[in-house]
Amino acid sequence: MDNILSVLVFFPAIAGLLGFVVNKDSARAYGITVAAIEFFLSLWLWLSFDSSNAGMQFVELIPLIPDMGIGYYVGVDGISLFIILMATLMTLIGMMSMTITKNIKNMIITLLFLEMTMIGVFVALDAIIFYLFWELSLVPMLYIIGAWGGPLRVYASVKFFLYTFTGSLIMLVGMLFMAYVYHNLTGVWSFAITDWYSLVLPVNYQLWLFAAFFFGFAIKVPMFPFHTWLPYAHGQAPTIGSVILAAVLLKMGTYGFVRFSLPMFPDASVMMITPIAILAIIMIIYTAMVAYAQKDIKQVIAYSSVSHMGIIMLGIFAMNAEGISGSVFQMLSHGIVSGALFMLVGVIYDRRHTKLMSEFGGLASVMPKYAVIFGIMLMASVGLPLTIGFVGEFLVLLGFYQVSPIMTILAGTSIIIGAIYMLAVYKKTFFGPVTNEANKTLKDLDSKETWSLIPLVLIVIWLGVYPKPVLEPIDNSVKAMVSFMHEKAITQEAKDMIKVAKTDKGGF
């Protein structure tokens, strides 16, 4: 099945369309089934994926607007493969654990469309197709936050939409300029990313283009100081919205850096290491501190997301395979862990309709299973070895150490301050005596919740203990990319900075 990617992209969309016909009582089952099929399709993709091949696989190319060089061009490599898997998995699990009853059918359909856009972003190899899915993903998310969210949902959803939209429009200008430059140099119009890779740009062009793309990606990531939409979006979104947002949508930004900025503008990327690292470190430390000040559990996790995304950003700009692979792995890890944490917050929100820590206390006595799973996720979140969170964080810090020890140490404080706010949440929520009467009768996780969380727990541990199946394909692609960047860089500083792994097999 060579066109499996198209199937993956459009299957949920078609299912979503057909979903209009499905009776609303059965919509949930329908959604879960579709998401499950989609997940198995993505597993199949993994199975048929050739891990030793670092290049693009399952490539499909259908010209759409040849005059502008736009075509339906998709493919996966090690970097995108697992994000796709995570997207399908989180959609499935999100749907399984969903407790929404209002307009459930609309929700299911929206989620299926969202799934299409998410996968679309990660398989797109044409900039315009990438942009298309990128923008389109905002719409279902807007609806999810806006229709099922908290009291400030409209503000939050509109802010989310507009903020991201603004950034991506600047990115669009960058893409257009890139196409223009490509046209100037080759005489051909093309928006194909792989074509753009081959372009060696002068440094000033690289810098401008880098900046244009930066706005699009940085807002999505979200990098400090563009992050303020995120706490609102998370704070107001329903559980499923937060799960998908944190797990997948944020990754689009960091993925964009890996897919576009690094290989296309290696010199600019190297020149921008310091500013970006500074921003990333501010993200890491500052938002972790802000997270500590939060009263609302979900806000803590929202801010912690920003902090973790800072780690990912830092790794991307480590300019060596260790850091970048770690970053990509950390994307997965953050997706799983923060997704699970948001689901966990959703659990008590469903029971108590509040997310304020002051309302809780001593939950460990009342809801032991819940406390255990929360604890595992917490440990994964703070990067405990043998959980998924460690591998990425370790590699990122390790990789970036080569760039700047001082900045690594600053960024490394994340393991401390991350623990501070997470443990504070855990202490305030789970420890101490049960003081609030309302909490004394809380029910522990029911089977639906348990069974949606258990797979995540298993993944968290499995990939913490044995990350190789995932890390290896990622690493192959990243190594190839890094040596490609090294080849392509025109300034000596960039060449010096970009460290090619000795074990690179090539093939980007």
């Binding site: 100081p225 303020t228 500052y286 000040a293 490394g412 101490g432 044995y466 190789k468």
Partner: protein
Amino acid sequence: MMENLVYIALFAPFAGSLFSALFGMSPKQTFVGIVASSLLFISFAASATLAYHVYSTGAAVHVTMMEWISAGDLTIPFGFLVDQVSVTMMTVVTLVSTVVHIYSIGYMDHDKSFNRFFSYLSAFVFSMMILVMSDNFAGLFIGWEGVGVCSWLLIGFWYHKADQPREENPSISPSWAANEAFIVNRIADLGMLVGLFIIYWNVGSLQYDVVFAAVPELSGSVLNAAALALFIGAMGKSAQFPLHTWLTDAMEGPTPVSALIHAATMVTAGVFLVIRANPIFSATPEVSFFIAALGTFVALFAASMALVNRDLKRIIAFSTLSQLGYMFAAAGLGAYWIALFHLAAHAFFKALLFLGAGNVMHAMDGELDIFKMGGLKKAMNWTYIYMGVASLALAGIPVFAGFFSKDAIIETAFNEGTYVLWAILVLTAGMTAFYSFRQVFLTFHGKARYDESTLHPHEMYKFVLIAMSPLALLAVIAGFFMGGFQTFVTKLLPDYVMSDHTHHLIWVLTAVVLVFAVGGIWLAYKKYANGLKRDEELENSFIYKLLANQYYIPQFYEEFITKPYAMLSEHMWKDVDMKIVDATVDGIAKFLYKSGDGTRKMQTGNLSNYLNWMALGSVLLLVVAAISAMLS
């Protein structure tokens, strides 16, 4: 065969942990404790066999289970190395653990979370085994963090206790203490990580053998940085100043935990790291000396606080701190095998001391203030004997284990010519003897100072006492194996022998130490053996208060770190994030909206205005055209 033993030694505790975890949420099941203990015993047996194997063949067992992380040029396997050093640690850890496990069956008898406790405890042992057995720094780090988490879980075992003000309970609450321990350890772990990064980027690997082989080729500054970074890691885990506060607060955990983790095993991980990485530390004399100096300082510093403390477990905790200082002093001075030997010996008697304290606590219904005890000798004879033996060992009275190991350390300080360190260590030895026996006398001698009508102290279960006996035995006899131990571990570790000069003075030196030790005991006897006489004047003196309040360091941390951090966080959120960053974004939006409101005013609805606009526009354009035409 040996490989299987390695795996058995490693994974038996893990199996025990998982097994107990299965019952983690059910009510107490005694067999859970028994199974866990048996599995640990198996682990101990395997460790002991391995120890014999290593002893007899002199060859290390090295197994690689699988690849863990592999990215870029970095490859980290799950590899386990059983050599002289690690096997010593394994044996000590599993032995003490087994004892503590069995002890816990009795001690945790009435706790509703009995099963959970065993799960945590076995998990801790598993982590500790990984820590000591790993053949690379990353694996060590796994165990390093693993013990941290288990320690967090175990300190906070009684998580349901509410927070209290620091005046009432210096460690606030178990959950608070657990978090403190975790976070402080994390601070040090960052140093450790940095050490790993330095090593990786300069050597290209994290495997011990590769790294140590590469040490001679590394520059001094790299080595210094690596050694320092690694030692910062060690400082956290071994609670060296200034990261020491968590250890005494960790006494909030159940006593077996204190015995196992916060006395015998985990806290010695820092020492173990220094011993393990001895090729690096040997190559960096400045850092090593710093370690020795800091260790010596901590030895004195902790002992001084123990002098006046009234909390049974905290006194022992301070003494642990102090002894860790000794170990670091030895390691820093290059006497790695002596440090390791003290580590092992200390594990035995300190665990025994703690378990004894646990018995007392059990008998006293949770009371820990030694001022409110007294005269327990009658009711708890065995415990008295055990604690007495352990205290004698701790005080360094000849024959007992502590004498040999501690004396060797003090001699080392003398031998190295660091007389200041030597003097301090000698003084500390005296203080050690004093506070150990102050505690023994206040607890067991004199008259009962508790309400005898409500409290009827009784001895611990028999099986518990029996379980404690190996420790007692070892506390007595361990010292005699010192020579054998030396030959055993120095196959791997650099040998350290006293110079001839020291050798000549050995009797004098020993006598000096003994004078101090006996003097301490004698002082304690004079003051406390016949009951407690409170000295108001002394208790109100500045020094006393300073010591009793741990030099006000916890308060200092709270006032100058914890609170400012919370305040800063609050400001960051409310003032920076909301009022600056977010307000800017919203401000732009509001500005646009406002300007929309402003601009729409031009749309008055009155045609006359529209015509004016149009005319204005055209005239403006005409004027601009005219001007630019004239300019061009």
